[in-house]
Subunit: 144 residues, 2 copies
DNA sequence: TATAATTGTTTTGTATACTAATCAATTTGG
DNA sequence: CCAAATTGATTAGTATACAAAACAATTATA
């Protein structure tokens, strides 16, 4: 049963990324880049380390995503004066609009996904999923 | 609500892969490779195309996974006589044991994940997840 | 039967994901 | 105050994930 849950969670995750990627294609930005762009948009001047805290991803991965976001002029970085190791990140002009536009796309992606699932069911689903995730986090923190 | 479901499904999926990877590290095989190896183990002589049908992955990705499985001597391939484009895939000697050993590891990974979740809840969770996945598949098949 | 279309698979190119190593800037400890 | 440890971030290396092109073998069609 648990195994089945894991497999299906993986499958659903994969499908979501596929779906979003398809819709995002024409905007010339990827799903991962977008997630990061949004965080930067919400918190101008944020640092890479702070993004990591929010996003539960890998610093090497984030470094690459930020580099591509900067290369494509979605964000720019300014060296921090107090600590020269740190760079403060800002969205470029026009990228705020992109964030909004993407919200619409996301709506389009996720609408219909809830079909045949009642609010109550969805709520309970989330409760169970939360517990499951909590257990996963504990398990990962365990020693091997 | 749907958005939250999607994010958490992604998170859980990521955690599962992380967990399995950590446990698989010492066996010198990756999660993806293992999934493929298992299919080959269950159906000796299977072709790449047939694996694709079972696994819902990408043919280019599978090609790489098979190449690495072969490079590490987990599988070997034999050109099919009837159709020379096709290769029949077999697990190498010793790899069956690996599959069994991995089942134990998987058990270790997923035990405890169900803690605090009743059988009934898990069952209902799966039902909702199935519906959700079904909706995702439909959505992906739609035209944009 | 020669050519066109199809098929099974690999290759190419780009973007994650993650570990380990590196690197420069900053703290710390003696 | 200086060497050592720490920190924020990038780089190197390997493995997916996926689109698009390439390729050889096979089948369909004119």
């Amino acid at each position: 049963m648990v195994k089945e849950m894991c497999y299906k969670l993986n499958k659903s995750s994969m499908l979501y990324k596929r779906l979003m990627s398809k819709h995002l294609e024409r905007l010339d930005i990827t799903y991962s880049q977008l997630m990061v762009l949004r965080v930067v948009n919400q918190e101008p001047g944020i640092t890479a380390k702070e993004i990591l805290l929010q996003m539960d991803t890998d610093k090497a991965t984030l470094s690459g995503v930020l580099a591509r976001l900067e290369r494509n002029n979605y964000v720019y970085r300014v060296q921090n004066d107090n600590d020269k190791r740190v760079q403060n990140i800002f969205v470029s002009d026009g990228s705020e609009e992109l964030c909004n536009e993407v919200s619409l796309i996301e709506q389009a992606c996720i609408s219909d996904l809830i079909k045949g699932i009642s609010d109550e069911e969805a709520e309970h689903f989330l409760l169970v999923l939360d517990r499951f995730i909590e257990n996963q986090v504990k398990k990962i923190e365990e020693k091997f």
